[in-house]
């Protein structure tokens, strides 16, 4: 049980994507203009990562190593298709906002990366824990970035006004260039925090 928790929790801080592992940057920048779309894509990624890690780990002994990458990609693409159809049927507004970013989950290197680096070599329950942890970590990162961009950029959070109505919004952060700058500053902030933690641990 403790290893299960260990595999799950490493995705939350120690190896949190996309900040520690710089994987899956494209959706991170594209959907974080609003918190709600960031959360929507995050849920899709959790689902796909869980399914792909579970299946890859289940069939790890039956997949010929030479063609493993195409096989992984087909597994991931099927999971993405499920998400796409489900979102279109039940969450149409989110589906409209996310647009091409739902099919593009298939190209998220995070998912293929976890299959290749973890699920291929580990038992099923650990792979599920790893997929869930990485997915939740990814979703939380997206939500943090989305929160910063939406509150500073337009003064709202989940579409609700959180700043005084006189605040006109710093438009840059809602625009594509602002996303790059915001992510760069956030990455630098995380570097600062983790180096502080590291030096504190060494002092003890």
């Amino acid at each position: 049980m403790s290893t299960f928790w260990g595999e799950f929790s490493k995705g939350l801080w120690k190896e949190v994507p996309p900040f520690r592992f710089v994987l899956g940057l494209c959706p991170t920048l594209a959907v974080t203009g609003q918190v709600s779309s960031a959360l929507g894509l995050g849920c899709g990624v959790i689902f796909v990562l869980l399914i792909s890690n579970t299946l890859i780990s289940t069939f790890k002994n039956n997949i010929p190593p030479k063609i493993r990458v195409p096989v992984f990609i087909v597994i991931i693409a099927s999971a993405v298709t499920i998400v796409e159809l489900m979102m279109e049927a039940y969450f149409y507004t989110v589906y409209e906002v996310l647009g091409i970013w739902i099919p593009l989950i298939v190209c998220n290197c995070l998912i293929l990366g976890r299959g290749e680096a973890f699920a291929r070599k580990n038992p099923i329950h650990l792979s599920m824990a790893d997929g869930l942890g990485m997915g939740v970590g990814f979703t939380l990162s997206l939500t943090v970035l989305g929160t910063v961009r939406e509150i500073i950029g337009s003064g709202t959070w989940f579409g609700l006004n959180v700043l005084p109505s006189a605040y006109i919004g710093f438009d840059l952060l809602q625009n594509p260039p602002g996303a790059f700058i915001c992510l760069g500053l956030l990455l630098a902030l995380i570097n600062v925090i983790s180096s502080r933690l590291e030096s504190k641990r060494q002092a003890c």
């Binding site: 494209c26 298939v106 293929l112 260039p177 996303a179």
Partner: protein, 192 residues
């Protein structure tokens, strides 16, 4: 004629695939540390992007639509792209060894370049006809190459400059891309 030109200019500058549409960021972070690698990556991407858009457009309109299999788009496209990359690799190795040596190591990376897949999907979503789809793929790849080379040139200078430790590597690359994106955003209104 003018429409095609306008669409291409818009795809290269105002809607730059890397800086405004956020596609193909992984190769940007991966190879833009050196100009030489970026040239190789840009060339390989241009080549595969045009081929992939051609094939995915044909597959979608002549295979998936007649049989009402549109929901298989994601699976079909990713398979077409992955096998195309393999094919290009084999053909290049046999017929043009010099070109293969220049592009070879970048080709496998391209399978997971979301730009190839993204442009293929965009072509379908924008209901482009065949000529538009090919031209759009060409223009987006040119835009990608332009942005990648400019940014690689800047990042090479960072290697010898004094960058604060916490900003080194990816953070400063992101901020550079943001500032460059502001420049490209200045072209909005040119193409539309």
């Amino acid at each position: 004629m003018e429409d095609y030109l306008m669409m291409m200019i818009s795809a290269i500058f105002a809607n730059n695939i890397l800086l405004i549409r956020f596609l193909g960021l992984c190769p940007y972070v991966g190879v833009s540390g050196s100009v030489n690698n970026s040239v190789g990556m840009a060339g390989a991407t241009l080549f595969v992007n045009v081929l992939a858009s051609t094939f995915t457009w044909l597959v979608y309109n002549y295979l998936l639509v007649p049989f009402e299999l549109e929901y298989l788009r994601t699976v079909a496209f990713i398979l077409v792209i992955a096998s195309l990359v393999q094919l290009v690799e084999i053909v290049l190795q046999k017929t043009a060894p010099a070109l293969y040596r220049a592009l070879g190591i970048f080709l496998p990376l391209i399978t997971t370049n979301c730009m190839i897949f993204g442009v293929a999907v965009l072509n379908i979503n924008q209901e482009n006809d065949f000529l538009e789809a090919v031209l759009y793929a060409f223009a987006t790849a040119i835009g990608f190459a332009l942005a990648l080379l400019i940014l690689a040139g800047i990042r090479e200078r960072f290697a010898i400059g004094k960058v604060p430790t916490t900003m080194r590597g990816v953070p400063i690359a992101m901020i550079t891309a943001g500032l460059m994106g502001l420049c490209f955003q200045g072209f909005i209104g040119l193409g539309q």
